[in-house]
């Protein structure tokens, strides 16, 4: 039947939701659906009411100037919000080759366009700046409750420039922004900072994103954090905050976000949630969290071990997901999972450290990366070490992934004799030394000792300082360490980490469902929409056929999700049945009133990815540069996998086929062989005049 919602005809044709709020459980006899509140969502002047009326604030910490502006619809339609708009802002607000830790770097904190609307899991906060770790694009994304609070406080984007003379923090409340003194917060851990801010402001509902001691000490891979463990870990955005003397951004909002079509948004959200929670992968995440992925990958042989020497951690019983579940059950109780804002997956465990020097400490996690960082990579096998390591990086505010990888790299160098007891100040930095591992975490955070200080500068500068052939052992792309997964048996995943815009990364374009061996018809159904594709596609994870398209498709999918501000577990990442381009137009329309087709969303995502690439090119990305390019460490090509399942053992990446895959990927993106955008691509994406300074 044709619907007329609130007098507005549905532009998206036949809608398939049933406007029957009484259809749920527990409905009583004699129940009559209650009418939704009359639509009072008419915009009045410049009053912030609708989601798209959320503003942007330009804050200069050097001069204490704050400018608040609306975000023009023209910009919204080109970049939506979140990461896409952040990339546009970064490209426009930074000059070429600036110092990432100088006052001229621009830090952008944002939510997506769906943040805090009636859509599922719109909890993601995105942070962008030029990265002090890679010298290229810096970008990180975290869950929690900060971005929704920022949206209720009236803002979608905060653009922070300059450098404060003394430590400060920002307090954003209901349309107003205040720069406050943070002298008494400096030096505090991430959680203490948040509780002190609440105490100081006298409001327990304040949500903050903060840095810990690592960010203050300019550790190049310091986190931005909110809550107990929600971390914007990658590319060192905490270091940028530290360089600006910005300890925290606190937000508190009680402003209405009117929805364009509340009843439809409401019912569609229920459908969306049902689709998301019906996926088995999400149900398992809700019980075991991301450690379950580590467990599954490890038994198959896809977990990087001992800094890439192996691809499986043997005798790992104590660090299997079930073990962490057991600890959480013992220390917290049977219901120990917790969630970000509005999310029904609840993938985050709560725990208390059961034994050892940190016994009794409460924290959340661990995630895949903590198992990688404190178990498989350094060759340790103790749950206690993983939980303690996880707790330390959370408190210090540093990226667990980078921390674990860089220490493991140092361990291999120590094993090879490139580092000796002289550099480690007597620390026996061999693989499997749990104590040395945790000691190094602290040394890096506080830049203690020669090695701690050296490693805190990130992989490539450390390799230069250490000298010899240390760089050859460093498993990185564009200067950032790889996730603790091993991509030698999966060319698609190898292409993903090599070409990810923020350096080696699994959340930029990983076609994770490539490992499921789905029938080709299923893959075709997924990957030939919204853009038609009739090239090859292969169900085989060791194949190189069609993988470039899958990576290209996923790159656009993840960019779109990041622009919307929703979590990647709510899209086609780990589950093949989860929502993607075809499902989003309705969510966007019902919540914000913005009318977009799946193809238009695809183009917006392409544009976002292209402007990220333009930023990287401007900062020196070249295709085959081992330090700044779309390529992999030689070990991917030269050292075959030593362990794992029959379709993993003995595998390595074929250099020639890999190069061809990159060519193919560039062609899909509309780039030349050198990885630079063609003139017609820029024209098609309307990017010829960038930087256009619309905001």
């Amino acid at each position: 039947m044709p619907h007329l919602w609130n007098g507005v005809p549905s532009v998206l044709g036949e809608t398939d939701i049933t406007p029957n709020p009484g259809a749920g459980m527990g409905c009583q006899p004699g129940y009559r659906p209650k009418k939704f509140a009359e639509k009072e969502t008419v915009k009045k002047g410049g009053v912030i009411k609708m989601a798209l009326d959320r503003k942007i604030a330009l804050i200069n910490l050097s001069t204490n100037e704050i400018e608040i502006k609306p975000i023009p619809m023209e910009v919204r339609k080109k970049y939506l919000g979140g990461r896409g708009l952040d990339a546009y802002l970064l490209f426009n607000h930074t000059k070429k080759r600036i110092d990432p830790i100088g006052p001229e770097n621009t830090l952008i904190i944002s939510g997506g366009i769906l943040t805090a609307t009636c859509a599922s899991a719109t909890a993601r906060t995105h942070v962008m700046a030029k990265s002090p770790l890679t010298g290229l694009l810096g970008s990180t994304n975290m869950g929690g409750f900060f971005a929704p609070e920022l949206a209720w406080a009236g803002f979608h984007h905060l653009v922070i420039k300059g450098r404060a003379k003394n430590p400060v923090y920002l307090f954003v409340q209901n349309g107003e922004i205040e720069i406050r003194d943070a002298a008494n917060l400096w030096g505090k851990t991430t959680t203490d900072t948040q509780w002190y801010i609440r105490e100081e402001l006298g409001d327990d509902e304040v949500k903050s994103c903060v840095i810990g001691p690592a960010g203050e000490n300019l550790v190049r891979f310091a986190n931005v954090m909110t809550g107990i463990k929600n971390s914007g870990g990658r590319t060192g955005m905490g270091c940028v905050m530290g360089s600006k003397n910005l300890k925290a951004v606190a937000a508190r909002g009680t402003m209405d976000i009117h929805l364009a079509h509340p009843q439809e948004a409401f019912e569609y959200n229920k459908r969306f949630i049902d689709q998301i929670t019906s996926a088995k992968v999400n149900q398992t995440q809700g019980i075991l969290g991301t450690p379950f992925i580590w467990g599954a990958t490890n038994c198959w042989g896809g977990v990087r071990t001992r800094n890439f020497q192996y691809n499986q951690l043997e005798y790992a019983d104590d660090v299997e997901p079930e073990r962490f579940d057991e600890i959480a059950t013992e220390t917290i109780g049977p219901y120990h999972m917790t969630a970000c804002f509005g999310c029904q997956i609840h993938c985050r465990a709560q725990y208390k450290i059961p034994s050892g020097p940190y016994a009794g400490k409460y924290d959340e996690g661990p995630e895949y990366t903590s198992q990688g960082a404190f178990a498989s990579e350094p060759g340790c096998r103790s749950a206690e070490t993983v939980l303690a390591g996880n707790h330390l990086v959370d408190q210090f505010g540093m990226d667990n992934l980078e921390t674990g990888s860089i220490i493991s790299w140092a361990m291999e160098l120590y094993e090879e004799g490139i580092l000796t007891g002289k550099e480690t100040d007597g620390l026996d930095l061999c693989f499997g030394n749990d104590k040395a591992l945790l000691e190094m975490v602290e040394r890096i955070c506080y830049r203690k000792g020669w090695l701690g200080d050296t490693l805190a500068d990130g992989g490539i500068p450390a390799a230069e300082k250490i000298g010899k052939d240390a760089f050859d052992y460093l498993i990185q792309v564009k200067g950032m360490n790889n996730l603790h997964s091993d991509e030698r048996a999966t060319p698609a995943l190898a292409l993903n980490i090599a070409t990810a815009s923020r350096g080696s990364d699994h959340l930029r374009s990983r076609p994770a469902i490539d490992l499921y061996h789905l029938p080709e018809e299923v893959l075709r159904k997924i990957y030939s929409s919204p853009m038609p594709y009739d090239g090859p596609l292969s169900s085989e994870h060791t194949s190189y056929d069609g993988k470039a398209w899958m990576v290209y498709w996923q790159e656009n999918c993840y960019m779109a999700v990041d622009c919307l501000g929703i979590c990647k577990y709510h899209t086609l990442f780990l589950g093949a049945t989860l929502p993607n381009f075809e499902d989003w137009p309705k969510v966007i329309y019902y919540n914000t009133g913005l009318e977009l087709t799946p193809k238009e969303i695809w183009t917006i995502a392409e544009r976002g990815n292209m402007i990220e690439r333009m930023f990287n090119l401007r900062e020196g990305l070249t295709r085959n540069d081992l330090r700044k390019g779309d390529t992999l460490n030689h070990r991917y090509f030269d050292e075959p996998c030593r362990r794992g399942a029959p379709d993993v053992i003995g595998m390595s990446i074929d250099r020639k086929k890999f190069d061809e895959m990159i060519d193919e990927f560039y062609t899909f993106k509309g780039l030349t062989k050198n990885g630079r955008p063609k003139a017609e691509t820029l024209k098609r994406l309307n990017l010829e005049k960038e930087p256009s300074h619309l905001l």
């Binding site: 009117h258 219901y335 917790t338």
Partner: protein, 168 residues
Amino acid sequence: MEPAGKVLMIDHEKCTGCRLCELVCAVKHDGVSNPMRSRIRVMKWEQEGLYIPMSCQQCQDAPCMNGCPVNAISHNETLNRIEVDYDICIGCRTCVSVCPFGAMNFNTIDRKVIKCDLCDGDPQCVRFCDIKAVDYVDAGDVSIMKKKEAAHRLFAANKKAAALQTTM
């Protein structure tokens, strides 16, 4: 069976702290996303990982009803709920101050008191809560469920004790 005997049953141990109930409550009643408008609120102690959803208990001898100086609050027996008649309500917030659960809210934008109305018999917080930290059950069943849980705990403890005795 009388259909009107249902109540909201909150099991805070199950709560994941996601606050979706707050969001859907506000959107359902006001068509607006703003937790401040929600009738149910999740109280949090993040440093301990403790999340407790708080909502109206629909008391039998409700202090808000007894305290209301203009008799705007009454007991609706059909829906087993306490409700506010906004035509009579003068917005004095006496009900807010006397509620022992803090479940009577004051909406600072519309300047009126708000409380849970059980969505006229189909509470949306329950519908959206996947883990059923908030559930809608017959009032008499709440204690049965708690009894069963306690009994199971007792049984488990006895079994453990028996096992200890045999090993000693």
